[in-house]
Symmetry: D2
Subunit: 306 residues, 4 copies
């Protein structure tokens, strides 16, 4: 088969301080739909253009941040396959039983060298709203808010980017699409398990297990501008943008959810194939790599994480 | 690895009646660049956003049409792997030595049930212009003409779509993203070996080995409109569009090159994963499937092929 | 003052067969808002980006069509000024008292040589929703449906385009931005009283007092495409498009309201100044003038009017 | 006539330090065309979408800045009319003979309270390239570079904005579309003589006769993004953007020409009619008024002028 093993980031579980404000933010502003609320109070969201049960999980907590990100694998046997490889690498693997989240089958979990918990799962129920499959219209429900089409990727901060790169490429079969090498070593990596320019990314940071942002994909640059209009109209704090990343070429805007978790909505970015070279950036150009128009980093981008 | 086997359509060899008019069309209008001219007069073209040596080959001939489409495989061993599978299926496989086209390694070739010749190859040199890889700008050369970003796919016509579907899915590991089933049988299939909504497609037609169109990808709907402005400004014959396909969701316009080969430039289309369902269309909705706005087929679409 | 006399088309009164279906069409699909319903059952609509009380009036009737189009004048004294000029030209002028439509002051009315009733008025109340004026956001309400920004213009059919041209330019101070001259005489004219490429237009037709379409302005070509998606999603009959007009350069799509009145939504078009030449089209190029991409007229465009 | 008196900003004369670098900037990057070079070395530029002889004049000088901005009037008699009104207001008026600039007739000039020289003229020859007028294509030459469609407006800095407002509205018949009132008085005004949201603007500043920027109009937000790509690709200094103005709603990016004169390219902005209210901004919201997404002023915007 042409696309095997780990398919894509399937969902992410976020900690939020005020559940209703968070639901409003992700549904009314970003444009997702609420699928269901679990018995333990977790709330499950998705874009109407996603088939699977949910792509965002909100969990009430006292601190913002990300509990884990879960990747979907193509075959049930991939769970055992990757469990063995992760354990062979030397990391512990635990099991989460089917049904711990509604609509999701058995999951396995482990911690990567930057400190984040990664999960893999094979089964997800479909849920409404989702794309039509028989004589399908382009959309069933008119896109609303920022018109997010899918949960796309997350960027994490942590101390050991070198080892994380090795783990993702050697154990999980990801490719490194771009990397930033500073005079004192590897600063950041962008990783893909698909044709997307990134499915997950890491930046070096003294503290482990930090979330920089979760990102949602939009159709185009006009929708990025429309997102910016929404952010100002509803007094939502913008971090930076609209701008473009040199890295991935994505056209982007960053802002914060009501709990202080950074969100990105973006459009574009090249298609990646595994025979493509890894794009590299050096210390003199990292500003342009991150923010292509400003050509310099801003303080918040480097230091504000949850 | 996550993307294995056949990666993508790499290049297509087209027959053209007037070489200079064809070069002008594909470079000035569609926005490609000429890489080189071979000793036998064949001319090799590419987009500046493609790494590999070329994606379009023009061959002077007395009849328009397509000689073959060639797919790139990930590993050299994939050539032997697919040779064995194609032969096991019962089709003959021939070899084309490295260098028969400049920059391209050894190829294998065979004929599919709709009559087209398909080739597989592993090696392609890089050629200029191509994307920068160290501190890369978004583009090196300002996009020109229709701003085509890549040769994307081709649609062929031929008599045995059912068998062609079986061949591509069982022998070549493609997925069927969409299909049209008429009361009297399978009319058309869209196939992918990647996350694109289609890498190749087939429509039922009494004569074998016919080309319906070769397609180039554009950034967005605005570029589709700009392509339409170019077509009228330079009196190039438009077949249909700008419109949208219900199938793949692509926003599109069709027109003809100076030899009568149909071209498409398009933008958008969903991302496909192998766990997605196949979208299906029935006879009552095929018009909407092909031309989402017009909701009916036009005569030229069904009958004009090369 | 720099913009004097007649400012713009202010509102149009349309006859509709089914009031609720019409309200749904103009509010949910085109994106207008209902301002109020009059005691006689007429319903008043506007875009949230328009200040004045309303721009569309729906009147229940047994036949579709347009009762009249009303232009707003800059000064109260303009009413007497144009009354005198219209009467001097030989046309009768009648008065409509203030309040005949909610929020609108005194109007005067007369019939042009193509048979349509034109009205002029000076006063309009403001109504909600309308643009903010103190520390204004870009919009108060997120645009919805086709995101129409204003009622923009109307195109009428009637027998005496030559005389209508003379009337609008000599009596009402309009400029002719474009004209189509066929071998047998003047076919069509586009007229402006502003910097818009057209505020009203006329095409030669045997029957007087016919409406070809009323048009709403969108932000850009992407919104024209989104309008097309809406039309197919809700099974609304499309006449033609998305396409571009050579005349005015507008990017456009035509469709029908539930009563059979033709609507246009469009974007773009050049800015006109009164020192600009009139653009002219001849019989060999009228197809390209009307539909820039198709380069030929369609039968419906020429014959379906209300 | 509906648009009388002063029609629009026709051209602006800029001082540049290096003529060839300036020509390259305005033609290759912004997308203008060189019309001619005068015997005194001044160089005349225009957009291919403008009819009149030129809209930008470059003059070699030792300091950057703006010599004057010239507005075109509708009728020859408007020159005498406005001369009398300016003199009645108490300002001196001088004459510039026809031919002092190629293609331009007699001009009159005077100084406004903020210190800038304003000129009025009636006659301008047409020059190539310009829009076609008989069976016109949408464009004759494919737009290039940033695809500027016209010189649009200028923003000036100077000490007496109150008196400048009075002068433009009472003597020159402009309308004030937006104003910023700080606790200590009027900070800034946007003025129009047309349906554009601004034809000229002024911000309070201790020194007289300063240029903040000259602006060129683009088609849409995508072209603003493309302009940003060009700026980074060719290492041109960006001041701010891509962003949106709350004032005028324009989508914009600011940068500097090789001499340090600030340029703006922008798209959008509402259409203004003289019966529209003046939009007002207070001190607490001026940041959002200027930069709608950032919601705060940057130091360079307030202090860097030429």
């Amino acid at each position: 088969m042409s696309h095997t093993g780990i398919l894509r980031p399937g969902f992410v579980q976020l900690r939020v301080l005020d559940m209703q404000a968070s639901i409003d933010h992700y549904t009314k502003r970003i444009g997702l739909h609420q699928v269901t609320e679990g018995r333990d109070g977790r709330v499950y969201l998705k874009s109407a253009d996603e088939f699977d049960h949910h792509s965002i999980v909100l969990r009430r907590a006292d601190e913002p941040g990300c509990d884990f990100i879960a990747f979907k694998v193509r075959d049930l046997s991939d769970l055992a396959h990757y469990k063995a490889r992760v354990e062979a690498w030397g990391a512990a693997v635990d099991h989460v039983p089917a049904g711990e989240q509604p609509g999701i089958g058995e999951r396995i979990g482990f911690t990567v060298p930057c400190g984040q918990r990664i999960e893999l799962y094979h089964h997800a129920d479909h849920s409404e709203p989702m794309p039509l499959v028989h004589n399908p219209d382009v959309w069933v429900l008119e896109p609303h808010g920022m018109r997010a089409r899918r949960f796309d990727h997350a960027l994490f901060y942590g101390p050991d980017v070198d080892k994380t790169l090795e783990f993702f490429t050697k154990v999980l079969d990801f490719s490194c699409t771009e990397r930033v090498d500073m005079p004192d070593g590897l600063l950041a990596i962008w990783l893909t398990t698909s044709m997307k320019a990134h499915d997950i990314a890491f930046v070096k940071y003294p503290e482990p297990n930090k979330l920089h942002h979760v990102a949602f994909e939009l159709e185009d640059w006009k929708d990025v501008g429309h997102a910016a209009d929404i952010l100002t109209r509803y007094d939502i704090s913008i971090d930076i943008g609209p701008t473009r990343h040199g890295i991935t070429r994505g056209q982007t805007i960053y802002f914060f959810d009501p709990s202080g978790n950074r969100n990105e909505v973006f459009a574009g970015g090249y298609s990646y194939y595994p025979d493509n070279p890894t794009r590299t950036w050096d210390g003199d150009n990292v500003g342009k790599g991150i923010f292509y128009y400003e050509r310099q980093l801003n303080e918040a981008f480097l230091s504000v994480v949850t």
